[in-house]
Symmetry: C3
Subunit: 462 residues, 3 copies
């Protein structure tokens, strides 16, 4: 619907609207300058470009003329600075022309925190008597050009002067964007850093899971392929496609889910030990807690893959062949094995536990969608994420335990003394659950609660 | 990304920003007061605390000093009231100091609608000459403290004075929160009630489905486990894990989905009967209509579980054993049963109907996501929710009917005169569909449409 | 949660709030007028209706009185114009009464772009000395009436006068709606068109996929049902339920996914050919690019169906019968076929490829949720949509190729010289991938990048 509305708009503007009297001036005829200039022109503004040498400017739609900076500045009181920070210097000469004008800083940097102060604040120092507004830096020129604003159309706006900010936000609205007031110029730096980020919070979870994956993979290959090949000269390489991933993924999902709740437990222990909550956690713990959501979502991804890999099992040729073989052997041996209720119980219940765990897991994933988590208040959020989250962890751990079933500690499953993967993957979740269980015992829970309510064991009374 | 941005910010603020000149005063050195004070301090504000006895205040980062209320009030024109409503009395003595100041009421109550008027309005009565703004009560102190704002970072702000409201919203932005203007102080009560809610609209759907679940469960246990145990001395207890849930869940899903559309039909009948739409519905109907969305989502959850439980069937040991047994018996009897096209038709088509029904069901679920339903206008929303919704209901009902297939009314399926569950679960949906079918017949549809356009059968012309 | 909050509010307002002193006047006692009047009355406003003939107005809650237009106008400075544009004429006579008043235009039209200028602008021409605000036209009277605001509660507001706009937005907040400032009156036309749209961007994708579906369907019916019926007199009609859809859907998904990336490639070729990016694309290409998101989501829907149809295979009676038959035949022939590792490899790896492809596909779908795509910046969005998108396309294409496996070009699969569907469905994706592969070769990639950075091959230097 988004694209559409913008599309509708630009069309509507083109065809039917009386040309808007507002004139907007754009400094710089580079890519972004021209893109936003065209867009504003399409949306009914009359646009004037300011350029170092107005003669040599590239193709522009007729109706837009290019003047010198000084001339262009006089034409409008809103000036969009489509210029790189490096070239701001010339503005000092235009002090008079720019006095009281609204300068919109649209610049971005090449790396995060490139300069001591944000470009907008730097601009404010260059032209102290102008009103600086930071905006439009999160929109891509190409998107403005092609009209395909299919990513975020949010425009973060900040500035110290209310009116000018409002003025710029109105322009944003008219361009079919959704301006978001971010407050004073103080936050300009963050707004400038924003477009440079590439999933910063996802790096740690992804690297971590990649490392874990590789470890599990090698482990499985040794255990499931190399071992039988050496001992029984059997080629099980085809297990690489499904069987082995389907050993790795559930382990990953379970471990990552446990790692979501581990930092909370460490934090609790720290607070109990320190007897206060007002001293900051070590950086690594802070960071860990901040990317719990991402860890959880990666875990969910692995769980999702595990489910799919499991559900296709009966379609696999290998499985069909094995099942048929079993039947044929039975007939050849001319004996029918009776149904064993216990093993029926085990197989059914581990499936059921897995399904319920996955169901709650999906629920957690849905509630972590921004629009959903914006709907719930803190009480509800804590309820879902901690209560339901732990229930999920319990179910998934139980699922793995029951999967092991009775053949758990039978030495037969050891190959070169290596236990199967699911046993390894049980270590972390079990630890987490045990620690949590200890922490919710009154003797620890009561003081912790008081600490979290602000009580301090040794608050110095002067 | 959210956490990150806030994180980025707090860091950026700490390291690189010139200390913001704004001074903010915080009354009360309790948990919330200290948390928000620290946060603002981190974000570059200079913070002053006001306290009953400044000496005895707990640990605070250096650079923040604690004064008496009167002194602190003079330091800043924005005062955050981190004090419980019960202790507002002392403010009367500070009338002069507080005159014209912006008082930010951050208080919450212990239960919904605890006091006749909202705390903010009560504060406004206490200090008539100050500008009251309600804000920050939806943010948890713990979250501000730890910086893990992973739930909603929305801050609902309301107040009668525009400038002061804007001022407070700017502070919110700088703290990395997203202030939402909620209008005048009139809505303060609702803002204060908000954090106390725990899924209020979900209670009815969840209780209802719990009750239904239990009924179905008992019913199934009697029919599937106790009956064969008594009559044939067979232990089918392992069916509890998967088979029986997989009888209950589809029934639940179908019934709850039907209950989503029942209130609309009742409302239509009421309106036809009354001949107007301007008289309010009975409370229970109103409430029912308001939690249709939640009912639908619970139904979707059951459908989702049903799908998973169905897809694991071929992996179940019991099923594999049964299938093998059948083959072996065939061979022993040395006859191969031919393939019956009709039963092939039935089994395939009930699977297909189920899949399509579930697909549409998921579609409905997705469109009920806040961010999606915000994208669609009323016309589109009605189209999806009523047209597609009814199509879903029809498909799911058909799925169940075909599942019954020809063995529908064969007495063989009766055990102790109890029909199987899917027959019970068909009652409500069939009723709904029949009623709907009657209502869309012109003779009823035409008057109903006119009534909904505002026409009244007996609008008294004086 | 939404419904609830509004519900809470309306209740709260009714019971506990002091009647709000603000008086709002509503012109017109039609359906919408009465609905919004009641709602405002419930929310504590004192409401006055203005009507042509005050005597003959329908049922209104007591406490609301109906006056003539002139009288009503004097009662309040906010007037909601619940009147059809056709009847605006009488306003000219009220010029004095309406001077300086805030007129809220809530009107909608019957078709998109019905009038040369928007109703709000028309109103502004009629009553030049009043402040016009466009609002509330996106809310349905029925929803206001019943309180079930379960679709979007967004109210798009625009107007040239800040104060009056803010005033109207406050009213919106108090009614439990979420006003969204859309800027000046220029955008009124778009706001008026909005409620009339019915998924405009979805039309093309849906029609296209419908056409493709029908073609594939007929093709399959001929190949899978008519052919064997004529040649072998076998009735395979039951394949219509699952087998044939499960041939069509994957083909659809693959083709539509490829069609998502085709326009981008065409655009790149056009730009390379033209040597600039500043000349607009042909309309059809623009439109195609604008509905890529929708195309992709339809493709995802088909992929989802394909997955479900595939996972139920082992439950199908026909499949079970076939598998059993094979076993029985083997036994009769008294030979056990050994397991073929190669075919094991093939069957497993095409399943694995399919699963991974579907997984990435779902990921793409999730990131295209408005609330998620609002979280990511342009760099992240491009990364996901282009990098991951192409990876998905590659995986899905490989999935289909491996599915073909070795029996790919064996003439045996030709029936009446018709290859099976999956071969047809490979044409478009392979073309896209080949073209893309050519385009990312440096000789083409380098100039393209420069063009997209704003460079122009023949930028005329005057």
């Amino acid at each position: 619907m988004e694209e559409n509305s913008s599309n509708e708009k630009s069309l509507a503007m083109n065809m039917n609207f009386p040309p808007n009297q507002d004139t907007v001036c754009v400094f710089g005829t580079g890519d972004f300058g021209r893109s936003i200039g065209n867009k504003m022109f399409q949306c009914g503004y009359s646009v004037v470009f300011g350029s170092r040498n107005p003669e040599m400017s590239g193709l522009l739609p007729k109706g837009i003329n290019v003047l010198s900076y000084a001339e262009a500045a006089q034409k409008s009181d809103v000036i969009i600075m489509a210029i790189h920070r490096e070239h701001y210097d010339f503005l000092t000469e235009l002090a008079e022309e720019l006095q009281g004008k609204i300068l919109v800083d649209v610049s971005n940097n090449l790396k995060i925190n490139q300069y001591p102060e944000s470009n907008a604040e730097y601009l404010a120092q260059m032209v102290p008597r102008a009103k600086i507004v930071k905006a439009f830096n999160t929109v891509s020129a190409w998107a403005l050009q092609s009209g395909t604003l299919d990513a975020s159309r949010q425009v973060f706006v900040c500035g110290n002067d209310k009116e000018s900010k409002q003025r710029v936000m109105d322009i944003g609205c008219t361009l079919g964007l959704t301006p978001v007031d971010q407050g004073t110029l103080m936050v300009a730096r963050e707004i400038e850093n924003y477009p440079l980020q590439l999933f910063p919070m996802w790096k740690f979870p992804l690297y971590l899971s990649a490392a874990l994956c590789i470890f599990y993979f090698v482990y499985c290959v040794i255990r499931e392929i190399i071992y039988p090949y050496i001992n029984e000269k059997k080629d099980f390489s085809f297990l690489l496609a499904i069987s082995i991933p389907n050993r790795i993924f559930p382990g990953m999902a379970l471990n990552l889910l446990a790692l979501v709740y581990l930092p909370g437990i460490i934090a609790a222990i720290l607070q109990l030990y320190r007897g206060t909550k007002y001293s900051r956690f070590p950086k690594w713990l802070d960071h860990w807690m901040l990317c719990r959501k991402q860890l959880g979502l990666v875990a969910l991804a692995f769980a999702f893959l595990h489910v799919l890999y499991t559900l296709v099992i009966p379609i696999r040729q290998y499985v069909r062949w094995k099942l048929n073989k079993r039947v044929i052997d039975q007939i050849k041996a001319n004996k029918t094995e009776p149904f064993n209720t216990t093993s029926g119980w085990i197989s059914d219940s581990y499936l059921a536990l897995g399904i319920l765990g996955f169901f709650l897991f999906v629920l957690l994933g849905i509630t972590s969608l921004p629009s959903v988590s914006n709907m719930v208040n803190w009480r509800e959020f804590r309820f879902v994420q901690s209560k339901l989250g732990y229930l999920t962890l319990v179910l998934c751990t139980a699922h793995t335990l029951v999967y092991g079933g009775n053949r758990f500690l039978s030495p037969s499953i050891l190959r070169w003394y290596l236990p199967s993967v699911y046993i390894l993957s049980l270590i972390i979740p079990c630890t987490v659950l045990v620690l949590k269980f200890i922490l919710i015992m009154p003797c620890f829970d009561r003081p912790l609660t008081r600490i979290r309510q602000g009580w301090e064991r040794n608050s110095k009374i002067s």
